[in-house]
Amino acid sequence: MVEDRSISGRIYAAINFTLLAIIALITVLPFIHVVAGSFTTNAELAANKFVLIPKVWSLDAYKFIFSTNTIFRAMGVSIGVTLIGTLFSMLVTALMAYGLSRKDLDGRKAVNFLVVFTMLFNGGLIPTFLVVKELGLIDSYAALILPSAISAFNMIILKNFFQNIPEGLEESAKIDGCNDFGILFRIVLPLSMPAIATISLFYAVTYWNTYLTAILYLNDSIRWPIQVLLRQIVVLASGLDHSSTLDGTVPPPDQTIKMAVIVVATLPILMVYPYLQKHFAKGAMLGSMKG
């Protein structure tokens, strides 16, 4: 578009720019405040009421939270669940999506409907909980993965992507003696890397952010992922206890310690954020195409 160089045009652009800059700043300011707060002492935090730059820098909060292995264990659980969960989800999602993408498959419409209907109606919290319990998954890591292994939405996005791959490629592979597994893993998947990357990231972020399934299915605090531990430290310790897991005799942890835990739980997402943003934007586009 041609630049509007009139005075009113410039004022308009300047106001728009300023407003957006303020909005962007407000959006990230809380994160920066928390990061800054985690790198100072509690006394400094209480005395100087800084928003961004503390005068005294300190690693005390991090030394404290890493002095026991609680955080390491929770991070380990979250990383493990995220890696294994993403691999597993990707595998079953891709298998199902490929099967459903083949137009000559009898019964694919029925299976498709089976999947779409679950997006419109579900059994709800309690019946799902009872199924998980009957399967003996309570207090197992599998409970964090299996009950949400396939997202119907992700599966449909991937299926649509597979459908756009020219059928000729598959045909020629079949003539060369490839069976359907060979076609999927040697031809279709390598051609679908952008979609695979997008959906893997969708799954990975979901697994990393897992909270609900953990509080539903895990009673044992030893198995808690980082999100549950974080909530325990920050929210419950603020004296807002509504599950009475903390007995109130322990003094609430310092602000700096809470901030340090938040930073630790956020860090993995921040590290992959550049990739996330690129792929997720693409994924949102894929999702907006009608299937």
Binding site: N16, T27, L95, F121, N122, G123, G124, L125
Partner: protein
């Protein structure tokens, strides 16, 4: 292979049409056997974790006892549903749910549209990308992180917001425990986390607008604001309507995690919604059947709303969503 071809080879001449079709079907099924093997884990997943729970909804008509199981528990008919509509607490929860939904619809919903329009008006590729990168960020944080950051910032002991209030001569406010602050905090957090990310779909459809339209408008002397009003907004009308419909379809789905994290004994009066109540009454107090009945009610309303708004959208000449 043997089985599929056997009948046709024994009676090749007088094969009825139906039988022939059958044998072709069998052939096709056999040829696609690996595809069915591929579908198997996925189908099993949906049956076990989606359809078995739907079957489990029958416990809302029973007096479900964990040790008796679904088959052994006593049937009580509509009793739980009757109790539901007789209980004043249920209407309070329904009211809370609907109010949060209203906030989502009327306060949150326009924000991404306005933000997308503003981002689109931005000249200069660098800043556009920078601002987008910054406002998308919170979307990738879990609700636990969003709520935790809010907590450390607004807490009475040492939170920066309250410190600033004192600094400017105001009294401290107990944002976390006061029922009056629950709804503003809820919707501000929704905006903070989702508004930036919500712009993506609008930006995509704005990008598809023919630049010639703006050119023509400028020739006619339309200023930038008038171009937004007369070209950009009408061009994304379809997307706006579709997203609005989707939102209405999810009338009772406000996200358990977010509200549950904000909920405490002081703000329960306004913060308890259907999802959190089902969790508390069902899993914490063991009223399996009663809370399943509430969840069932919610699911049915959700399904009806989706079908209804989908039909309305088709009538209005917009594309259906499902």
């Amino acid at each position: 292979m043997q089985e599929a071809t056997a009948p046709s080879s024994t009676t090749p001449k007088f094969q009825p049409k139906k039988q022939k079709r059958n044998s072709e079907l069998k052939k096709r099924l056999w040829r696609n056997k690996w595809l069915y093997v591929m579908l198997l884990p996925g189908v099993l997943y949906f049956i076990i974790f989606k359809y078995l729970p739907m079957y489990g909804l029958v416990i809302s008509f029973q007096d479900y006892k964990p040790y008796q199981g679904i088959t052994g528990s006593e049937w009580v008919g509509m009793e739980h549903f009757k109790r539901l509509f007789a209980e004043p607490e249920f209407f309070n929860i329904l009211k809370n749910t609907l109010i949060l939904f209203g906030l989502n619809l009327f306060i949150y919903f326009p924000v991404p549209i306005i933000l997308a329009l503003m981002l689109n008006e931005l000249r200069g590729h660098f800043f556009k990308r920078l601002f987008q990168t910054l406002v998308y960020l919170p979307h990738f944080m879990s609700w636990v992180i969003i709520v935790s950051i809010t907590y450390v910032m607004v807490t009475m002991d040492g939170g920066i917001i309250n410190e600033l209030l004192v600094y400017f001569g105001f009294n401290k406010i107990n944002f976390l425990l006061s029922p009056g602050w629950f709804r503003p905090m809820y919707i501000l957090q929704v905006i903070w986390r989702e508004a930036g990310w919500g712009t993506i779909i609008y930006l995509a459809s704005i990008a598809a607008i023919d630049p010639g339209l703006y050119e023509a408008a400028r020739m006619d002397g339309a200023g930038r604001l008038r171009q937004v009003w007369h070209i950009t907004l009408p061009a994304i009308r379809g997307v706006i309507i579709t997203l609005f419909i989707l939102k209405i379809g999810h009338v009772l789905d406000l996200g358990f995690e977010h509200v549950y994290l904000l909920l405490n004994s002081m703000n329960r009066e306004v913060a308890e919604i259907i999802d959190t109540y089902v969790y508390t009454a069902g899993l914490r107090q063991g009223q399996y059947s009663y809370s399943t009945a509430i969840g069932f009610f919610k699911s049915v309303i959700g399904l009806i709303m989706v079908m209804l708004v989908n039909r309305i959208s088709k009538k209005m000449g917009e594309e259906g969503v499902y």
